[in-house]
Symmetry: C2
Subunit: 195 residues, 2 copies
C-alpha cells in the first residue's frame, strides 16, 4: 500500500521548528533553509509548504494570533464571573508559562517587522483591537456586577490595563520580575479598581 | 596641508547610518556592508571603526542607553518639583518625538537579541534597574512633598508605572494611540496617585 502522507502533521512539525528558531534566534534567523534544518527536512519541502521566506513570516504572524486566542478562550469560558474573566485575559498576555514565553518572544520579534510592513501592522493592530474589545466587554460587565468602580470608563481602563500587562512582558522575559511578582502587580491593579 | 580627518565626526556619521538601518529595517538588516552603503563609505571603513558585526551591535546597545540618558537628564534638571520629574521621566520613555520613536524601535529590535545573549541581557536589566532607581527616588520625594498617597510603596509604584509606559510603546508605534492619548493616560495614572 502506498504510504499515507499526513500533510497536516508535516506542516505542524515545520511550524514547531519555525517557532523555535523565531523565539530563540530571532526573525533574522528565520529562513527556509534554517527551518528545514531545524525540522530535519529538506529546504525544498519547506518551500513547498510555505513558498517564500516572506510567506513563512506572514504565516508565523497569523499562527501567533491563533495560539494566543486558543489559550484565552477556555480561560474566559471557565471564569466564574466577569472580574475573573478580566484577570484571566490579562494574565494570558503575560509570558508566565513555557508556551506563552515562546509566543511573547515571537511577538516581540515581529513587532519591529510589522512597523515596516503595512499589512502586518494592520494585522497587529486588529489583533490588539480585538483583545481590547474583549477586555472592555468584561470590564463593563464586571462594573455592572459591582466588582469595579462605576466611575471608570471600561474602554479607557482596558487600554490602560492592556498597556500595563504589555509592559510587564520585558521584565518577565529578562528575569527582572518573577511570575509571582507580575501576577501580584496585576492583582493589585485590579484590587484598586474595586468599587 | 594634509587633510585633517575628524574621526569623531566620521564615526558619528556611521552611527547615524546604523541607527536608520536598525530602526527602519530591523537588526536583521544591520551588517557592516549595509551600514557602509547607508553611510556612503566603504565596508572596510566601517570594519575599521567597529570591527565585527557583533561589535557593531554591542556598540548600538550602549549608544541607545546614552541617547536616552542624555534626554532624561535635562528634563529632570528642569523639573520644578519631584512630581514633575516623575512625569518627565515617564514621558521620556514614550516614543513621542522623532528621536524617541527611532530609539524605541531600536530598543525593541534589541530586546529579542538580548534574550539570547547574557552580556546584552545584563546590560538591558542594568539600564532598566537604573531607571527604576531614579523613578523610585523621585516618587519617594514627591510622596514626602505630599504630591502622592503616602500608603503606596515608591519602589512598587515605580515598577508599575514603568510597565505602564513600556506597554504604551507598542500602540504608539503602531499608531493605535496618539501622543496626546498616551500622555493623558500617564497624567490620569499620576492624578489617581494624588494623596
Amino acid at each position: 500500500v502506498p504510504k499515507v502522507v499526513d500533510h497536516g502533521q508535516r506542516r505542524g512539525e515545520m511550524v514547531a521548528a519555525l517557532w523555535r528558531v523565531a523565539a530563540y534566534e530571532g526573525l533574522e534567523a528565520v529562513s527556509l533553509s534554517r527551518v528545514a534544518d531545524e525540522a530535519g527536512v529538506s529546504k525544498g519541502r519547506v518551500q513547498h509548504y510555505f513558498g517564500t521566506r516572506d510567506a513563512l513570516l506572514d504565516y508565523t504572524a497569523g499562527y501567533l494570533t491563533d495560539r494566543v486566542t486558543a489559550r484565552i478562550k477556555p480561560r474566559l469560558a471557565a471564569a466564574p464571573d466577569a472580574r475573573a474573566a478580566v484577570r484571566g485575559a490579562l494574565l494570558e498576555v503575560l509570558p508566565l508559562t513555557e508556551d506563552s514565553i515562546v509566543d511573547t518572544r515571537v511577538g516581540i520579534a515581529f513587532l519591529i517587522r510589522a512597523l515596516g510592513d503595512d499589512a502586518l501592522r494592520d494585522r497587529y493592530s486588529a489583533r490588539n483591537a480585538q483583545f481590547l474589545e474583549l477586555l472592555t466587554y468584561y470590564l463593563a460587565v464586571a462594573r455592572d456586577e459591582g466588582a469595579f468602580d462605576a466611575e471608570r470608563d471600561p474602554g479607557a481602563l482596558a487600554v490602560e490595563l492592556f498597556a500595563l500587562v504589555n509592559g510587564l512582558k520585558e521584565p518577565l522575559l529578562l528575569g527582572d520580575l518573577t511570575p509571582a511578582d507580575a501576577t501580584a502587580i496585576v492583582d493589585e491593579a485590579l484590587a484598586r479598581l474595586a468599587a
